[in-house]
């Protein structure tokens, strides 16, 4: 019917809503394939005796959770935040600092990680969300940097150098995370859970207001919605999700450092979301995988791989109509069409 027009629409998420059934089906099939692939990957890794693949994809899935949370903000609420890595770091530091005090069970460290990242999101969100556009980008950037420097100044917890964990967390006393395979599936379960939660969220009443405010905040206000409150709640939810990713990251690497919170890391998360196609959720997972695998592959050739990747980013922003969003949508469409 109106397929060509839909391409120009800068709101793929919303277009989905009124879209014909096949399109909706694709939004189910692709994630299902993605998760099935991830579930079967350990078997392949085992068959090829490529143990490193398990670690690599554990990492991919952890960053997918963080990228998902960011897609919730950028893709569904038009909140371009440049400080998402701070929450990743907070989650990881919760694990690290608790471990330094002898508390190594996930039943404690996970709730703490979520609470700390949620609280930080609430406090900074109260200030950030009062501003718009350029101010919002810069303020989230600044708060992220605040977390970074604060972590770096924590001399008792390793300061700049970070903090090494003696071991991964236990779960109710059981060393569940110690087996790479078991940990892989724990992370996969977290990713699937986070994905389903986000999916539900954007389709809910709450998500509808968020998406509406992305399209036209003034209209939503005159309809009677206090947009600020909705955005604040979304910001806290996204912060906690990234905190979860941080909790997993700290356990995966058994190491925590301020570098997790650097603003470059926040930038990379944005790139992941855009690479996969924003406002699709599963795009965030594809984007995280693309970015991390590309990094792995390029850096095997040269340590100066960013000299290639940087101009690549510039090229797609400059020459693809509608910037990365355009290429994301174009790539996404190609994938969907099969």
């Amino acid at each position: 019917m109106h397929t060509p027009g839909e391409m120009q629409s800068a709101a793929p998420a919303a277009a989905e809503e009124g879209a014909p059934a096949p399109r909706r089906r694709r939004a189910v099939v692709l994630p299902a394939l993605l998760f099935a692939g991830l579930a079967l990957l350990p078997a392949a890794a085992l068959a090829l005796s490529a143990g490193y693949m398990l670690d690599l994809f554990t990492r991919v899935m952890i960053f997918s959770v963080a990228a998902l949370s960011l897609d919730l903000l950028i893709g569904y609420a038009a909140l371009v935040t440049f400080g998402q890595a701070a929450f990743l770091g907070l989650g990881a530091y919760a694990v690290g600092i608790l471990a330094a005090h002898g508390i190594t069970d996930a039943l404690v460290s996970l709730p703490v990680a979520l609470a700390v990242s949620g609280l930080f999101a609430l406090l900074t969100g109260l200030v950030c969300l009062r501003t718009k556009g350029v101010y919002f980008i810069m303020i989230t950037l600044a708060f992220g940097q605040m977390a970074f420097f604060t972590a770096a100044s924590l001399a008792p917890y390793g300061g700049d150098d970070g903090l090494t964990l003696a071991d991964r967390n236990t779960v109710a006393g059981l060393p569940l995370f110690d087996s790479p395979l078991a940990f892989y599936y724990v992370v996969l379960a977290c990713l699937v859970g986070a994905y389903l939660m986000c999916r539900t969220l954007v389709a809910s009443r709450f998500g509808r207001v968020l998406r509406g405010a992305k399209d036209n905040p003034v209209r939503m206000t005159t309809l009677g919605f206090r947009v600020y409150h909705f955005q604040l709640v979304a910001y806290v939810i996204a912060g906690m999700l990234s905190g979860l990713a941080g909790f997993l990251l700290g356990n995966a690497t058994e190491f925590v450092s301020p570098a997790y919170m650097s603003w470059q890391r926040s930038g990379e998360l944005i790139i992941m979301v855009l690479l996969g196609g924003m406002g699709t959720l599963h795009g965030a997972i594809l984007g995280a995988a693309t970015f991390l695998l590309l990094e792995e592959w390029l850096s095997a050739f040269t340590e100066h791989w960013k000299m290639i990747f940087g101009p690549f980013l510039v090229l797609i922003v400059v020459f693809v109509r509608g910037g990365l969003i355009g290429i994301g949508a174009a790539v996404g469409r190609r994938l969907f069409r099969g």
Partner: protein, 307 residues
């Protein structure tokens, strides 16, 4: 805390403030006039320092290195504007962010490729080495005074340029209403190019001046960039005056906070607790300041009219 130490730290704070102003001035104009977010402004500061080191190596003269590096920074800024930035005016802020992030990745890595990852240094010019006694028992490095002086001179120059020249008038008008300026029949693109190049040169100048007292290394522009963001957000985007006030404020608060936080906290808590909390608090101080300013005035201290 002795008076001498306090004076020294105030001077250090001023020096940081002046440096921040040099970087923030270009940034705030580029934001204000073109509505363009330039994350790559920090690498222009880094390039200034690298250019200075390189030209000093070639000529052996600081003055020659300064002039050549300034010219190179200007040319490089114009190049970036022509090749990348010009194509992105009027686009989504997200596009600005990603493209200039790409430039950062490229240049940070490129600098490493050309000059290596090890920190380089630039000697202080012969005549300006050593310290001067500002008061009995109060020695202060001459070069740092030179930085403060030259920064204030640039601020004055900018003030005159912006408030008393035609191009300054256009820049001010552009910051509050770009459409009006183009409606006046001014070639807004050329104005953009000039402002961008000039901003890049100012950032380069900051990098050159700081090179003798900091190590010149890849990524040195990244941290200072965020501080410059804090400055222009507090000062109000598009306002040179705001950038100046906020830069000095941030420079002083950050420097004094780092020097005295532990001492101050000792008054209210145990020394060991103060040693732990102090540095953390000190590094949060300017961001808390920013939060407070924005809570009270969401568009900064001196918002440019019309936005």
């Amino acid at each position: 805390m002795s008076t001498t130490l306090l004076v020294v730290q105030i001077l250090n704070g001023l020096q940081l403030g002046v440096l921040l102003f040099l970087i923030a001035a270009g940034l705030t104009l580029v934001f204000g006039v073109m509505d363009f977010i330039n994350l790559a402004h920090g690498v222009q500061y880094m390039l200034g320092a690298y250019f200075a080191v390189a030209f000093y190596g070639l000529t052996g003269s600081f003055v020659a290195a300064l002039l050549l590096a300034l010219a190179a920074a200007l040319v490089f800024g114009l190049l970036i504007e022509a090749v990348v930035v010009r194509r992105l005016y009027g686009r989504d802020h997200l596009d600005h962010v990603i493209a200039t992030f790409g430039i950062i990745l490229f240049l940070n890595s490129g600098v490493k490729y050309v000059w290596g990852a090890a920190p380089l240094s630039l000697p202080v010019p012969e005549a300006l080495t050593g310290s001067v006694a500002l008061a009995p028992g109060l020695l202060y490095p001459v070069w740092r005074l030179v930085i403060i002086g030259s920064g204030l001179a640039v601020a004055l120059l900018l003030y005159v340029l912006v408030s008393h020249t035609r191009i300054g008038m256009l820049v001010r008008a552009g910051a509050s209403n770009a459409e009006m300026v183009s409606a006046l029949g001014v070639d807004i693109r050329r104005l953009f190019t000039i402002v961008f190049g000039f901003g890049a040169m100012l950032a380069g100048f900051a990098g050159i001046m700081i090179a003798p007292i900091l190590s010149v290394e890849p990524g040195m522009g990244d941290t200072i960039l965020i501080l410059a963001f804090v400055v222009i957000v507090i000062g109000g985007i598009g306002s040179i005056r705001g950038a100046f006030v906020a830069a000095l404020l941030i420079g002083l608060v950050d420097t004094l906070g780092r020097s005295f936080a532990v001492d101050v906290l000792r008054l209210v808590m145990s020394p060991s607790a103060a040693r732990t909390v102090g540095p953390a608090l000190a590094s949060m101080l300017i961001y808390l300041l920013m939060a407070v300013v924005l809570w009270v005035r969401p568009s900064g201290l001196f918002p440019a009219k019309g936005r």
